[in-house]
Amino acid sequence: MAKYTITPWRHHSDLLTVRSQLYSPDPILRQTAVSRTMAWKLRGNLPHAVESTALLVDAFLHHALPSNSPFSIRAVYSAAFTRFVTGFCDIGRNRERALEPSSMLEIARQIGMPAEFVALRHEATHEDLPSVQRLVAACEQALEWLWDVYWSKVDAVAVVVAKQAEAVDVAHVTVEARRVFRDFRGARRTALKKQGTHSQEARLVVTEAAANLRSLCSNRAEATETAIAVLVADELLYPSERELGAPLGGAFMIWDDLLIDITDKSPSSLRVLTKTMFNRMISPAITRTTSDIGSDALFIWLAHIASSEAVLPSARALVVSLGHGVAEEQP
């Protein structure tokens, strides 16, 4: 069951923009980012690390204005810092759900927050406001710590999530593609036997399968590669009980139209198909006992593709060049 979180920013790039603005040296950019973060706060669901960073940056901007009184400068630093520390410890304690709630220091230790942060927050709350230079140093340190704990990981999240999405897809595509190809082969055989090569029914089977494949791969290169890999690896392109050297006229009749359709709509797939066939041809897997027969069949297929200049222009050149490339890779 997928778990979703809601963010106040519309796109991940918005967060990255704010990150670069908050940590930039330009005060105008920083001010914009702070103002935007506070607007995000009004939407709700703003992560505490983002809020804390903005408050601390706001304190620095407040300090930079000469018209602000020394007390107000220390007060703003203290307030930002206190909220930052208290927030992390409160949230950490809520996550804990233990019998005895831990102290702030203990929570800080668990999340890797320096103990001095907790001490300074305590002082700012219960004793005199610390001096401005101490506050400046502490807030700078806090910004660095926030970078380590949160901001530096923000890209990684996007990458991990994207990879997960793809990872799931590959397995799904493999299974689905296998199904589509097998169904196609069965249906096409039946149609060809009953109605003949150029019958409408036979043509319909091709169109349907091509559409299914298109919606499955939806123009993603990796998905298309996966589907083609299934086609070749499952040995669907030639009959299972084949003898060495037997012609593949029947297989061509079954598969030609579909392959032309696929490669027509997606030019790179011809290259992928050819390359996959070459690779499979020259390096049989250990378990295969009919390796020679399979390689033989693929060889005939490749020759067939190369000689199909009429329907697949530049196929011959492609096959030849790929063939050379593959030969060169061999020891």
């Binding site: 997928a2 979703y4 995000w40």
Partner: protein, 632 residues
């Protein structure tokens, strides 16, 4: 020799993910030795710090600061699961659609799910409402989110007929997990299930029974009696801490009045913006109740067209709590009371039942004491608890007061935030009609109301912010996808409009707004001069066409009527409508495509939570056991 190819290379395995996790795990192993958990730090860093995101365990800890988010008082021990045996239940008739029971006097039947109940012979009470053969068919909703009402026979023998129903409310479970697993079906696929003991429930939900004990029954009878004596001139309020059964008791008062008084109707003043009885959170309203209330709040939204619960007046606070602006809250209530008094002149007196919030300490108490004067309360029900600051004045200001013991704490399977979500969803998905109806079409597929905000032909004249002011350059970003209230001023009273509307400015995107004064805070518009119509969800902002796309439960005729008035949108501190962004992702037809979109980053405001995986699992195992696991 030919190289061996691995299956991975042929099929493109996701090796990037594996090695990233593996490398990270190695690094973490060192840190874990030191007791530090960077996964925890990251988790904490990404959590919002706004009082809405505490874990369930937190609410049982000490917190008596008078803040509106306070839960039940300290150290409330939950009672053991109730085992309630119903004796000699006689099932007389039992077919595919209905079941008929024969109950002796004072015997009870407890039923979960949703059903229509009719009394064929005798009399019984449910939820404080007296059912007789003349009462006709009544719809009862008993989801597992709250205590289940019981049917008690008041005369013997009583024949009760239960009929299976297929309400459109159930279809909302397609759109959100909060609506799932709360209804039931029995072995005949009927929409209700007769329970004999609490442990009979197969899906292990925490169920408890709601029954009207003698103390409550006594008070209900007294109140109904006084309504008759005073010819309807009665105003009763129930006060008590959070989760002490106030709204349940208020429902029973309404039901008792509906059954035992000649006019059979009453007026309900909904004063709790966080947990209202008849509408979405964020407003105070006056509703005319003409039918018994036989279910929890989200099962009976009020509307202008409803025959059973007619919405008379509502004023928006644009916030689920009045803590940020108590004066405006009081002004809203005052305005409603003016309307109430005009209504109940002379012979048309109708009893008023007031639903207060559970904030009985601190600022909540002070505000309520001010309100008691405005409301003119005659009867006060005080639920047992420790709130002397409010209880004292409440007793003094009312003619009669009753004391009600506190019911045992009932575990609810939904948090307050989840209940507010359910209420909002029920509101936005309800279709204006005389009987309650809901649509299970996701918000994204509902037809929006396109309204112009351009200066030349405005449908919306201004956007107003209650509460924290917003810098105009960010108004668009905040408004997009958020909830607003639709309010209007009557154009015909021209002078008032001129006084009321200060100059309207335009944001860089062209959105009209009323700027905050230098104080940084805009005083909300006078509720006496404005009318609140409904809530709306801003589905899109079109700067080129200068239109807003709004989703609202208002009917087309109501929208047409709006255009004769000066309409404004109020934004404030409504809950973020996260449920609306996620509906497509939970609905079966669209969830796979939706998930893909989210992974590719194409869905605004939504992202997949990354798998914390082993790291998170290890950390949780290491922790000491939760309080609930240790007995004694």
């Amino acid at each position: 020799m030919a190289q061996k190819r691995k299956a991975k290379d042929a099929f493109g395995a996701p090796e990037g993910v594996l090695s990233a996790f593996a490398a990270a795990r190695l690094k973490r192993a060192d840190q874990e030795a030191a007791g530090v958990s960077p996964a925890l730090a990251e988790e904490v860093a990404t959590t919002p710090y706004d009082g809405h995101h505490s874990s369930p365990g937190a609410s049982t800890r000490v917190s008596r600061g008078g803040s509106p988010n306070d839960a039940v008082e300290e150290n409330v021990r939950l009672p053991p699961p109730i085992s309630y045996r119903t004796n000699h239940l006689n099932v007389v008739d039992d077919d595919a659609e209905s079941m008929t029971l024969l109950l002796g006097i004072n015997e009870i039947a407890c039923i979960a799910g949703e059903y229509d109940v009719t009394i064929l012979d005798g009399a019984a009470t449910i939820y404080g409402f007296l059912l007789r053969p003349e009462s006709g068919v009544q719809r009862v909703y008993a989801p597992s989110t709250h205590a289940l009402p019981v049917i008690t026979a008041r005369r013997g023998p009583t024949k009760v007929c239960l009929r299976s129903v297929k309400s459109s409310l159930r279809t909302l479970e397609r759109l959100s997990p909060v609506f799932r697993n709360i209804w039931t079906a029995d072995e005949k696929e009927r929409s209700f299930k007769l329970l004999q003991t609490s442990s009979e429930n197969s899906s292990q939900r925490p169920l408890s029974i709601l029954d009207t004990d003698d103390a409550s029954q006594g008070i209900l009878t007294q109140i109904a009696g006084r309504v008759n004596e005073r010819d309807g001139d009665l105003r009763v309020i129930t006060l008590g801490p959070k989760s002490s059964g106030k709204s349940t008791f208020n429902r029973q008062i309404c039901n008792a009045i509906a059954a035992r008084t000649p006019k059979k109707r009453c007026l309900y003043l909904d004063l709790d913006p966080g947990q209202p009885e008849f509408g979405p959170p964020g407003q105070v309203s006056l509703v005319e109740v003409r039918a018994p209330i036989l279910g929890h709040a989200f099962t009976h939204p009020a509307s202008k067209k409803s025959k059973s619960y007619r919405l008379l007046v509502t004023n928006t606070l644009a916030s689920t709590s009045f803590k940020d602006d108590p004066e405006h809250y009081i002004a809203c209530v005052r305005d409603i009371m003016v309307g109430y008094r005009a209504r109940v002149q002379g012979k048309d007196a109708q009893p008023l039942i007031v639903n207060a919030s559970g904030w009985v300490t601190g600022l909540g108490a002070t505000v309520m004491i001010d309100l008691l004067d405005v409301l003119g309360i005659t009867d006060t029900v005080l639920i047992d608890g420790d709130y002397p600051l409010l209880a004292g004045p409440a007793r003094e200001k009312s003619e009669v007061f009753y004391k009600l013991p506190r019911p045992p704490a009932r575990p609810s399977s939904r948090t307050p935030a989840e209940l507010r979500t359910m209420q909002m969803m029920s509101y936005f998905h309800s279709q204006a009609s005389s009987v309650p109806r809901w649509t299970a079409k996701p918000i994204s597929s509902l037809k929006p109301w396109l309204v112009s905000y351009s200066a030349t032909n405005p449908g919306i004249h201004a956007i107003v912010s209650y509460g924290q002011a917003v810098p105009p350059e960010h108004l668009s970003e905040i408004l997009d996808g958020s909830i607003v209230a639709i309010i209007s001023i009557d154009i015909s009273t021209d002078t008032t409009a001129q006084e009321l509307l200060p100059m309207v400015l335009r944001t860089p995107n062209g959105l009209p707004y009323i700027p905050a004064p230098p104080s940084g805070y805009l005083v909300p518009l006078d509720p006496g001069q404005t009318t609140t119509h409904s809530l709306a969800l801003v589905r899109a902002i079109d700067p080129e066409m200068q239109t807003l796309h709004l989703i609202t439960p208002l009917s087309e005729s109501e929208i047409a009527g709006l255009m004769e008035r000066r309409v404004m949108l109020v934004r404030g501190n409504f809950d973020s409508p996260d449920w609306a962004y996620l509906e497509d992702l939970y609905s079966d037809e669209t969830k796979d495509a939706g998930k893909k979109e989210v992974a590719e980053g194409k869905r605004p405001w939504v992202r997949l939570r990354e798998e914390v995986g082993v790291e998170g699992g290890v950390w949780r195992v290491r922790h000491p056991p939760m309080a609930g696991q240790i007995s004694g």
